[in-house]
Symmetry: C2
Subunit: 410 residues, 2 copies
Amino acid sequence: MLKDELLKVKIAQKDLELLSKDDRNKILSNIAIALNENKESILKSNEIDIKNAKASGLSNAMIERLTLNEKRINDLIESTNSLITLPDYVGQLIERIKRPNGLIIDKIMVPFGVIAIIFESRPNVSVDIASLCLKTANACVLKGGKEAINTNKELVRIMKNAIKDIVNPDVIYLVESTDRETTNELITLKNYIDLLIPRGSKGLINYVVSNAKIPYIETGAGNCHLYVEKEADLNMALNIAVNAKYQRPSVCNAIENILVDEDIAPSFLPMLYNKFKELNIEMRGCEKTLKYIDVLKATDEDFYTEYNDYIVSIKVVDGIKEAIEHINIHSTKHSETIITNNISQANKFLSLVDSACVYHNASTRFTDGGCFGFGAEIGISTQKLHARGPMGLKEIMSYKYKIYGNGEVR
Amino acid sequence: MLKDELLKVKIAQKDLELLSKDDRNKILSNIAIALNENKESILKSNEIDIKNAKASGLSNAMIERLTLNEKRINDLIESTNSLITLPDYVGQLIERIKRPNGLIIDKIMVPFGVIAIIFESRPNVSVDIASLCLKTANACVLKGGKEAINTNKELVRIMKNAIKDIVNPDVIYLVESTDRETTNELITLKNYIDLLIPRGSKGLINYVVSNAKIPYIETGAGNCHLYVEKEADLNMALNIAVNAKYQRPSVCNAIENILVDEDIAPSFLPMLYNKFKELNIEMRGCEKTLKYIDVLKATDEDFYTEYNDYIVSIKVVDGIKEAIEHINIHSTKHSETIITNNISQANKFLSLVDSACVYHNASTRFTDGGCFGFGAEIGISTQKLHARGPMGLKEIMSYKYKIYGNGEVR
């Protein structure tokens, strides 16, 4: 029974919370050492998954995501080790309130308890998430895709074995059944799971959001915009457009749309066209765009689409008001940038665009835990409840109030 | 169409956010003045609701909750005015991060946007919630019970009229249709509502939690516990038990359960029995309790029940471990207290009991925005995501990152 297994996870989490900071760091270093010692068995289990994936005709892109190699295992080891140097927030005092009646109210950072992650093909997520959770004294329930099940089993086996002398290894739990029914059950088990984080495709995230009966954080949908305001430095705008679209188009903080002020469209659009043509980026433009450059016509659907590919939609707007309105309707509230030398227009954009990260004269590609200095991240939140943008260690913690009295009654 | 109306609310919210702090305070003082000037029309509309309620056979308790009188209107005026002196958090800088590459990342407090509240019979909720939302630059969508519709309509009419010279009055919206279908639609309109807060009965809250497709905060379920540890000052324990159970049993921070350490059961239970008997509080005890005092037998169901009445369940436990386990299984994670002179046992309880507010030697009745010094509250959260315990002004705000660059690319 899934519930019985999760009850064990819940009970084990309290052990983890009571450990010292040093012991939690020791857990991480043990995991890093064990991953290093077990590279061979990890790669072997991964080979089985890859073989099965090929036999069942999975796409090359999917197989690429599924594949581990020595370099990727080393990255996992490095990122697990890097958490050791980050602060331990468990039990940290956020605020002390002294009341006139004598009560002392301490607001204290605490782990959520049990965090469940539902993810897809990439097996490295197992280790990344487990490390972040263990550092913050959260137990984790991992539900990966069926294509990575052998690799995930092996990674979890290694991690559990590495920590068992310090803490009850039930703090890491892999849901081995990979069918939809198990997911359905998992996302409704309110008394066993404190927080749910879906990581993966739009389909997965929408499914969780539509069916979960427990608190979740929506992550990763990135229909991001770059707006070239009429007082922009056009060379800077082009440089940022190239970076935000071309450097890594598959990620959520890449841009999908470029909005261009009508006043500068005649000068900027041809510059953009030449450069993007050279880079083989497909352009789809609104009616007005087509007056200046010879590209495909964008449909309304295009402006809602996260391509994750070398494709961009372009829209000519009659000013900042139209740009902001267009973004607030079409965006997934992830990241947007304005390029302009006019500070007051920039401030207007940063205030009125309702997205987690709003940039002035910089690439949206910086929306990332590492770039923000958080060290590691569990995902990029696109909701407003609890956490917004890159979620680091602090963002997977909650708080409680401890109140000290001396017999006070009301 | 509900969506069209909500789009107006969403657009109007941006006006509110751009107002100065002084203008937002002026809005509150205008509402307070208007309520004072329109007492007669408020009472008249309330009389219609009361007459209808009586005709349709609503319970006296329900009618009592529905009723406004001069005193209650004055309380509303006072609480609206009291918000004026509290801090304005809109746009407040939480943290500034300077990155080695030159980027400046400002983490800024922002309103959620549109907050929808679904509530039941008490019409004063309309004004309380609208004031809290307006202070924090949130627009509000109010969906009250059908029994209070005339009063709610009049209160909203007065508030909209009072603010219309300062801000677009669409920032307050009353959903006039009170049927279940409208609620069903409301709790799924993700693009129009940023946060949903159900306030009212367990039935209402469970309904919202089971059906909402947008972020919500669960509030107000209070199955609270008092644990009398073996080193307790028994007189203090009795005094706190009386306060927490008897002073106002209908509220969520009243206790429903008393756990008594076996070692002191022979001395404490008779003291409790005599006092509670005198106060006409019904006691229901576990098997062991019945050995010491002559009370009804508690069922397993009793320990999960929030009576909101002069009834208490009593359980004898064999020590702090059993007490903590019992609470973590049965509690709604609202408020619990331990009475003891043993500091290390108290710390254990405060760390391991997984509730929003955990007390040592004080009454659970203090879990309240006013008692915490927050000035006002929108509800008591019993979830761990975003906010826990009393939710004041800060807790109905989100944040965003404003990032300032100079052409930076990755």
